[in-house]
Symmetry: C2
Subunit: 359 residues, 2 copies
């Protein structure tokens, strides 16, 4: 079968031939329908993130996938069921975090991430997985189910942020998403799909006309141009925010979030920046956190419960949003185009590895 991988010898992603995997006892064989591309894939390709499987010269990419059960083996799944796989695996099979269904809370070094860290991903015509790492999703999501993974990351962050405000009466009305990439827009779609917030904002650095600004406004949110209004100026220009989600990976934003929060507000951080030093007024930020009961919450990855909520969410999102977000789906033969992310009209790309046929 064909697979898309990075290898020690190649510069960009390449298409390689691999044997179709044989499911181990307890595993199902999944025929891959589509795989989405995100910033982590680009970081792996650039060599700034990720880890090859032990003793391997390549890493099959792909951690946002939707597939269909080809051979359920002894898993109890049914042939033809549509599934989205979670990302983390316990390399030696024993982990209290995995046992309790919270692999997303496992400490670094104790897990693999398929398609990212130490384990091949889903970017191949078939993959195998134990049933406990597969979430059944409705067949109506067969085309777009690769969005369940990034949306589960959104759900995990919201869960952590909300928990942090659960010891008192928190009645947020304003929310801001930092970043108009696909993750930011999924977060914005989520928060505008609930009744929680009366006013939503999304920050980017784009000129009109721009498809992401169109999406932001069609979702009923206000576009904030970071070139005109830096994050710490948002309260004076717009309003201070009860909830902020950072989805840029731009470290200064994480700290300016403290200034942009309303009293009792919480900032959820999702970006994964590299080392970069800069000066802050740490005294003022520390003071601001304390005197206004503010919180900053880092969040990474997600677990089965977040995947299930994400699958529910995705069914409630307007069709126009999904259509606008997924700008291109390429056939496997044109996979390279899915990694081109250089123009402002591309939002989210995916590759189709096989077609879904209603049974």
């Amino acid at each position: 079968m064909q697979a898309i991988a990075v290898s020690r010898d190649s510069k960009g992603p390449i298409c390689i031939e691999k044997p179709r995997p044989e499911p181990e006892p307890g595993e199902a064989l999944i025929r891959t329908l589509r795989v989405g591309i995100d910033g982590t894939d680009h970081e792996i390709i650039a060599g700034s993130y990720g880890e090859y499987p032990a003793d391997e010269d390549h890493l099959v990419l792909g951690h946002e996938a939707v597939g269909v059960v080809e051979d359920p083996g002894t898993t109890g799944l049914e042939r033809g069921e549509v599934v989205a796989p979670i990302v983390r695996r316990s390399p030696n099979g024993e982990s209290v975090y995995f046992d309790r269904g919270e692999p997303d809370m496992a400490p670094e070094g104790s897990y693999h991430e398929r398609g990212i860290i130490g384990s091949h991903g889903y970017f191949s015509e078939f993959f195998t997985s134990q049933a406990q790492h597969l979430v059944s999703i409705p067949s109506s999501l067969a085309q777009v189910g690769f969005l369940v993974e990034p949306l589960s990351v959104v759900n995990k962050a919201i869960e952590l942020a909300t928990a942090s405000r659960s010891s008192f009466t928190w009645e947020p009305t304003s929310a801001l998403v930092l970043g108009n990439g696909s993750l930011g827009l999924l977060m914005l779609a989520h928060i505008t799909s609930t009744d929680t917030y009366e006013r939503c904002y999304c920050l980017g650095r784009r000129d009109r006309p721009d498809p992401t600004i169109d999406i932001i406004e069609r979702l009923g949110a206000t576009y904030v141009d970071s070139r005109k209004t830096p994050v710490d100026m948002i309260p004076s220009t717009y309003e201070s925010m009860d909830f902020i989600c950072e989805a840029t990976g731009h470290a200064p934003h994480a700290f300016k979030t403290i200034d942009a929060l309303a009293p009792n507000g919480v900032g959820a951080l999702l970006g994964v920046p590299e080392s970069s030093s800069f000066e802050i007024d740490g005294g003022a930020l520390h003071n601001e956190l304390v005197l206004h009961n503010k919180a900053l919450i880092g969040s990474v990855n997600s677990n089965i419960t977040h995947f299930k909520t994400a699958s529910d969410d995705l069914q409630t999102f307007p069709e126009w949003f999904i259509d606008s977000l997924i700008t291109d789906v390429y056939p496997l033969s044109e996979f390279r185009y899915a990694f081109d992310n250089n123009d402002d009209t591309t939002i989210k790309t995916a590759v189709q590895l096989s077609a879904y046929e209603e049974r």
Copy 2:
């Protein structure tokens, strides 16, 4: 009656004569037993914090108090009951935060703080208060009940921090308190009095012999000298910490806390530093927060529920701890000594305004 105040004309705290307050309808008259002194008092005296009541040339100090009901009026309290007053008041009487019993979450500008911001404190022979702002405490705490307020601040911080970890299974074993002042030691006494943490640490910058180091070690905790082991070096020298409480007001500590936390850990910030700029590796800290699901929580003030828990706590603390923590209690005539905090043998001071007599 006599009161201890700061005035626009005086440099330090002064003793002034004021009329004994007349309780308004719904208020009780409280005879003050003891008032504790803390860092906020010193900041008010230094002119770097606090606010005079409108149209007044002085501010009566005192926000950590224990008193006895002298005249219950129509409050339903009983004469002779021992009480600790909470700090915040709603200046115009209407506040959703006060109505729901969460004045500690009220935004700046919407509250007064007795003895701190806009309202006279408890540092007088008598004070009045509505019953809803008074917490009845056992008469066994009549001598030390001024510790209920700072201990309630500890409880509020722990409540917020614990809530922030409530969406997943959090099983902390290690805790670190930054700061060996009275608030830090109260936090340490609290966390060592529970079974939550197997290993506790407390950071200071003192040479042995030192009474705070003696307390830290008698509580079963490990003393960490910040001059030898800066906060960000604590994981490599000792271990990374599931819970950190910052009680120093030293802003760099707040940010180094991120490095010292274990995966899934939470840092509660209590200090109130002034503006001060410094360089951080913001990229690495942002990354660390995200990839390890870490949280930073600011916490200020406390409400009735935290006072009640603090009163319960205080009864469980070993007698030697309270005796060692309260280094001096001065009579009103010697109140000035209670504000001298220049030697390393002073931990917590208080002034006795009247004696408690068991009825």
